[in-house]
Symmetry: C2
Subunit: 321 residues, 2 copies
């Protein structure tokens, strides 16, 4: 693992690994959504990725980039869910064990998925510090290689391969937008897209209730994410050194959105495009709805990060009648 | 319009029209669903069709097969929703008016869609007789050409084009299964599939709470559908002369399913495949779950009829907490 910031060439190299294990996901468009939002969207559907999220790209690149010596005691990480499932699946594909630290309030569908891939789970309180402390203990006990969910060169390069596939099919985009939690997806996106064409604008989208990335960039310091209350359960983490470095250097802006905007965006995509996207994936769509001045009339690539939704906890559904 | 039963050549001819106006929909597969159901499914995703349902195939074929003389006062129909939206859109594409009779209890998303395509709607009580009586009155008042939702040669030929595309990509299927309400989709499916290869089994799937097709075939008589209570709101109608003739001659069987099976099947597809399918589309998946003896180890094409779901009336979602 390197601590340097990655280049587009590193993403291209990662793709040689990722394409062997990950799905090439489809890009969906919708006349009715475009008409409602007065824009031209290209949704890169990582909800159709293995484990239902883009995280499998980074995890597979990280796991298969380890030497046999580095991999011999397996891999370990802490994650609110999608990275955990992705790492567990990538480890099982390589035939090595995985040890996962999860916050106890992670959605049950994500807990089940991680168990289903054969990982050993240790639960912890849902704070950044508890996650990191528990993770360090598990790592010490097992000797497994730590694959951080985003503060990891190979993970970031893997996440960038979604944009590689997007721009291969639609090179003439004006804008690419991705959600930002810890910043791994946004960093990979920036690395590939800005390397491909620096004139393409790249925005991050974040719940206003978890706006640590927005404030970190504004104040030029990394703020921790302190128990944020948002439906976007994949965006609870804060930037790290590596993702802050990439995002603060290359990103055209972080756009924050309301909770009601996230629900409206999720409903719009479910109703009009007939695809299941998780709340975190609705955050960039909400940004397009709530900040139309950046997007009107533009060709916008949207990284749909995943589709793992707990159907018993939807913000709509069963009426009270 | 002819009263003869259609042949595979009629479907091939219909496709020359349909392919100019309809989407070529993708075929989705899922390792996890296949593993859970011990079968090999190929979902023909008409939820991604224009108006969110296969109905646009039949409607576009019917509308564009009319002569200018036949089309001059527009078109009219009665429908619980998807055929209405499809006919309204096809009429607007041809530049003629449409007059739609809808049951007053149709899902609001379907009412809105029909209005959105510029149709003039007349509401009626939700019984077969009321629909037909109201429709006759509207037809008399307007002089519009009546396009029955399934008792129509060109509609049935259009619906068969979903199977044409399915078998073009995956010719080696053992089984094709489709839901059955009025029987237009199943008749079109039978016409194409049995013409393509009579060894491919074709089943219809129906809620046990609306099992008029099952009973009609068993007793060799067309039973009316009397206010059935099922979540599958697209399957409330009964067979007609033309669809009974085709289905009773060619179909390998009608499989009935429970209401809880429909909800379980819908949840399975939403959770594992990340696509929105409407309850009527979950009926064939429920049939595979509840009648595994027909499907274990087979290659099964499933016509996913549509994705128009009222998100405020889901059978899961908001918890009571």
């Amino acid at each position: 693992m390197s601590t340097q910031t990655p280049s587009i060439e590193n993403v291209v190299k990662a793709y040689e690994i990722v394409k062997r294990y990950a799905n090439r996901t489809p890009i969906h468009q919708s006349h009715s959504v475009n008409s409602i939002l007065s824009t031209n969207l290209f949704l890169k559907c990582e909800n159709f990725q293995k484990v239902g999220a883009f995280k499998f790209r980074g995890a597979s690149n990280a796991v298969f980039s380890l030497s046999d010596e580095e991999a011999k005691f397996g891999v370990t990480t802490h994650s609110s869910g999608n990275h955990a499932a992705a790492l567990a699946l990538a480890a099982s594909m390589r035939g090595i064990p995985s040890f996962i630290v999860m916050p106890e309030n992670a959605p049950s569908i994500k807990k089940k998925a991680v168990e289903g891939y054969g990982a050993k789970i240790t639960f912890c309180k849902p704070t950044q510090k508890e996650r990191e402390d528990t993770q360090a203990r598990v790592q010490k006990d097992t000797g497994a290689a730590f694959i951080h969910p985003y503060n990891n060169f190979n993970v970031i390069c893997g996440q960038g391969t979604a944009s590689l596939e997007l721009l291969e099919e639609f090179p003439n985009l004006d804008i690419v937008i991705a959600p930002v939690g810890g910043g791994g997806l946004l960093s990979g996106t920036l690395t590939y897209v800005k390397g491909f064409n620096p004139n393409i604008k790249v925005y991050g989208a974040e719940p206003i209730n978890a706006d640590d990335a927005f404030r970190s960039l504004r104040d030029k310091t990394i703020y921790p994410s302190v128990s944020p209350k948002t439906i976007a359960d994949g965006l609870l983490t804060s930037l790290c050194e590596l993702t802050y470095e990439i995002i603060s250097t290359k990103c055209d802006g972080i756009l924050t959105v309301s909770e009601s905007g996230i629900v409206d965006a999720m409903r719009l995509v479910w109703e009009r495009m007939k695809i299941i996207i998780e709340p975190s994936s609705a955050v960039p769509i909400a940004a397009i709805m709530e900040h139309p001045q950046y997007f009107t009339g533009k060709r916008v690539g949207v990284i749909i990060s995943g589709g793992n939704v707990d159907l018993d906890g939807l913000p709509f559904g069963k009426s009270n009648s």
